[in-house]
Symmetry: C2
Subunit: 600 residues, 2 copies
């Protein structure tokens, strides 16, 4: 069986040919690094993912967490896998050397983490949640909070969660009802119920640090009245030792279609009116803090979706190469040997589609990580700000596009395996079930489309959109000088130019107060915008591949040919399809908006 975590040749292409990881080493923060240290980290990630995460991926699905005596029990393989992950430094891959981190670029950290997501998305989630929660405390917590909670999280002794959703408030966070009352000692008493809290209980870490959104008594209505609290499972004494159990109860577990290895919990805070919480930062700023951390989390979700797609693609490719079935349409002599199904045009279509989706998404996610690095380490404030704005603009795409299209890739992987693909004796059905979560959590598809059209494209006078368009046109200009790429550029330019016109028209609607109409078809906008961005990424990959092909040797020739063919697929089979969405947007089609409840 081939290695199906990811394609290592493509990883090198992405890091060193597309995103120029080595150039990051010229920046002071990464001066200790070079390609060797990067590759060493990647190699370690690969080994641990292969040896400790992949082997229990199916078992974690079949033996989902159990609720026993008020606590969640997991299969025993999860803890040692996470221990190895932590000991190898991946929990703090981007943190400073001085706190025990590897001080790696986010680009490398995401690339390392991708191995774990591909091997076992459920077990890797405990780490991702802890990274998200600890980043919040690092960015906004007091020195005292950092010492008490962040330090043991960095050490991997405490894990973290993000506790946002309530039974009646999911996408609409402004409606949360969890309360926080000030106590005499400066802490708060939390009372409320949260659901869908991933990692809300587990037997692995000494303690769990819940990052809880709640409302203070004087909170204004809506999103500007939400505050952020640290609510530990166990209180922590001044000397760092664990104190009493806090009034946080595991009310139950949700039983999911996939991603089963990660506990999804209902948590009750303050059933006994004694749940201690600590305010992070300023009152009423909780949602803003959460959103400042969202870029990284949404890159993580997009990469998770990508890696599930990637694993399915590589598995179905290996299967297609080794499964004999049928003959070519023009060679139907029944006495001849069967051909491998990779020989069939329609199977090639399904493989090429997967390749285009997962490698396009992989490039996009790493671009996001690179922009994140740029937003932190470029020399000037202006440059950093521009990188951050571009990342802000792309974030809804980075999150949603892989969630939609790498799920489609998983659907195709099942189809290639046929009846076998539908059985749990093969891994691809689990990838499909796992991946179905991604269009839902961390902001649904609908929320992403409203974020993109209602907020991101117009922010700062559309500066980020202009910067994006400039980069796309620059790539098109490069492609224009390469006759071999003839035909690839035009569909992208046609899409992007029309998208620009449509964007202005829709923003005009919004400015004119036609908000419901302007946003009604935002899902179509998200699709077209996403395909424009991924189309750009494929053209950029084609430019690099074509340049490299001129001097390539050995296996690299086929690798670059594959890149060019996948780019051709995406730009001729996928990108032009979005003209249809743009036509509907141009026409302000109101079919869905005008539909009445009673008519269903």
């Amino acid at each position: 069986m081939a290695d199906t975590l990811l394609c290592r040749r493509n990883l090198a292409f992405e890091l060193y040919e597309m995103h120029n990881a080595e150039a990051l080493c010229e920046r002071p923060r990464f001066a200790e690094h070079n390609r060797e240290t990067f590759d060493a980290a990647l190699g370690t990630a690969h080994s641990i993912a292969r040896d400790l995460f992949a082997p229990h991926n199916r078992k974690g699905d079949e033996h989902e967490p159990q609720y026993v005596n008020g606590a969640a029990e997991l299969i025993p393989e999860v803890a040692p896998a996470l221990t190895a992950f932590i000991e190898a430094g991946f929990l703090n891959a981007t943190r400073d050397f001085e706190v025990g981190g590897m001080q790696l670029p986010n680009l490398l950290s995401q690339a390392c983490f991708a191995h774990f997501q591909s091997a076992n998305i459920a077990s890797s989630s405990y780490a991702m949640l802890t990274m998200g929660a600890s980043n919040l405390i690092e960015a906004f917590g007091s020195a005292e909070q950092q010492q008490r909670f962040l330090t043991p999280m960095i050490e991997g002794r405490f894990f973290g969660t993000m506790a946002l959703t309530e039974p009646h408030a999911g996408s609409s966070l402004s409606d949360i009802r969890t309360k926080a009352e000030p106590a005499a000692d400066g802490s708060y008493r939390i009372k409320g119920n949260k659901i869908f809290i991933s990692g809300g209980d587990q037997p692995i870490s000494e303690n769990i640090v819940h990052m809880v959104l709640a409302k203070l008594p004087d909170a204004p209505a809506g999103v500007k009245g939400i505050s952020l609290f640290i609510v530990p499972k166990f209180l922590v004494n001044d000397d760092g030792s664990l104190g009493a159990r806090n009034d946080v109860a595991l009310a139950g577990l949700f039983h999911k279609m996939g991603w089963r290895g990660t506990t999804s919990t209902a948590l009750n805070f303050g059933d006994n009116d004694n749940c201690v919480g600590y305010l992070v930062g300023k009152p009423h700023h909780g949602l803003a803090y959460m959103f400042q951390m969202m870029n990284e989390a949404r890159i993580g979700v997009g990469m998770g979706a990508t890696m599930l797609g990637y694993a399915g693609y590589l598995y179905s490719l290996d299967y297609a190469r080794n499964r004999p079935q049928g003959r070519h349409p023009d060679g139907k002599n029944p006495s001849s040997a069967q051909v491998s199904i990779v020989e069939h045009a329609d199977v090639r279509r399904m493989l090429l589609t997967q390749k285009a989706y997962v490698e396009g998404a992989f490039d996009l996610g790493l671009l996001g990580a690179r922009l994140f690095d740029d937003s932190l380490t470029l020399p000037t404030e202006d440059e950093r700000q521009q990188a951050l704005e571009l990342l802000d603009l792309l974030t809804p795409i980075i999150k949603s596009w892989p969630s939609e299209f790498c799920l489609k890739a998983n659907e195709l992987a099942i189809q290639i395996l046929g009846g076998h693909g539908y059985t749990r004796e093969y891994p691809v059905e689990q990838y499909y079930r796992d991946n179905r979560l991604n269009p839902i959590h961390e902001g649904t598809h609908g929320i992403q489309s409203l974020d993109l059209l209602g907020r991101k494209v117009s922010m700062n006078g559309g500066a980020a959109l202009k910067a994006l368009l400039k980069q796309i046109h620059s790539t098109c200009a490069q492609a224009a000088e390469m006759p071999e790429l003839n035909g690839l550029r035009t569909p992208l330019e046609q899409l992007v130019n029309r998208l620009q016109t449509v964007t202005l028209a829709l923003l005009g609607d919004l400015i004119a107060g036609k908000v419901n109409q302007g946003l009604a078809n935002s899902a179509l906008y998200l699709k077209a915008f996403g395909h424009a961005v991924v189309g750009w990424r494929w053209l950029a990959q084609a430019v690099v591949a074509q340049q490299a092909l001129n001097t390539a040797q050995g296996d690299d020739v086929a690798f670059y040919q594959g890149k060019l063919q996948a780019a051709r697929y995406f730009l001729t089979w996928e990108v032009p399809s979005c003209q249809h969405e743009l036509a509907l947007l141009e026409a302000r089609d109101d079919t869905c908006l005008a539909m009445q409840d009673a008519w269903f």
Copy 2:
């Protein structure tokens, strides 16, 4: 909770307004029937499905069949549900009165069966398999075989299976290796291994009649060397009593992603060289027999996919009406009450898309059933032949279109329920998992596309295609006379006209011997052809709805408005998107065909 089996108003619309079920009663075969007898059968189906099939749908999923001592064990609820189904006459709904049947039109039989598919696709499958197997024996078995095997199947004492697939031969049936050696007594000894045999073992029926494809010693290579055999689990004595256990062993069960309540088995025939089989019909004609029964089976698969989509649509609609979340984009006062999510434009889009898919597919499946009736009961041979040819042409669409688009509907139902939709506490995730089988079994999507383009559109000089186009143009002409339907007809005409041109061009390629090229993009052709057919069905529904709207009263007004809006959705949001597929077909785009194995 609303009734989520199907919409009874829409069922009446389909049967009596679209497909004119009452007119069938003018034909001699159905002369005993009228709308009252039809509705009585539908009512009984609804009650049994609701009371005996739906309640154990989740349990059957959670407690899948177990392999115990060489046999499959099921949850106890399946047997009484099937007993009620049989006692109510649904196993023989279309059979003659004189053998105990209801002599119902296939149109009504499919409509009745749809209730069971919606309520519990897995438990209903045992009945569907038995119907398929018994129909084969009825059509091609000898009188003696019919008495020995068919009669107890009609009585519901014996169930049946279709045993085609082998480990190395799925889509490529010509490569099966199961052997049949003539024995002295005129029977045969069967030896071989079959996999994915649904219902291959179960504890419900007294006996199981496997319809097995195998090769005789003198068989020519390929599909023309396949014969059909009856292979019972228990031999049957001359007096009808059960004899010895035949040499058929349950080798194991497959564990599927969904559809878990139906056993999927590996069967070994002749491990002890003593497996008795009986040749059905003539030697080497087995595959032809199987395919003559395929229309009905493929309508059944398409209807199964449709009903899973339908159940998810109705459930998510009910949820959307009762789930408050967020506010309109232009009314963001956070102190105002939350609105039901059905108020959000993007949720309406997801509901309207589901409605368009499932009601379009439902109409299409019933059209297939109506054509099947016509092929049997129209007065003249010519008329019957024309109906059969049109059904033959449409069969790959009837099977594959719902399998693809009602699965998408299930994906949207999950999305509407958000995090809840992803949990097994709600039913929609199971519909999604169950439905994922449909693009695979009874001929994969790829096989259907080759059947359509490589065989069906050109059969009999393209007569069926011409007949279809004539009907589509006739519907367009009706729509042209209704100003209210302005704008609906044009996208369909544009698609159909271009599809016709593309079809001729592709058939030209095939005739010219460019078989690999001509068939390479058959998946695109299947999509465009399917959307043309369903677009036609939606225009036909719009014509009927618009006519009825002029005199409609009460709730009917909203019902017909809903039909018109769903038609508008399908014809403006879906149909025009296929121009992209047609452009690729016109260009003979060879991106997938030219992709090389080494480039992946």
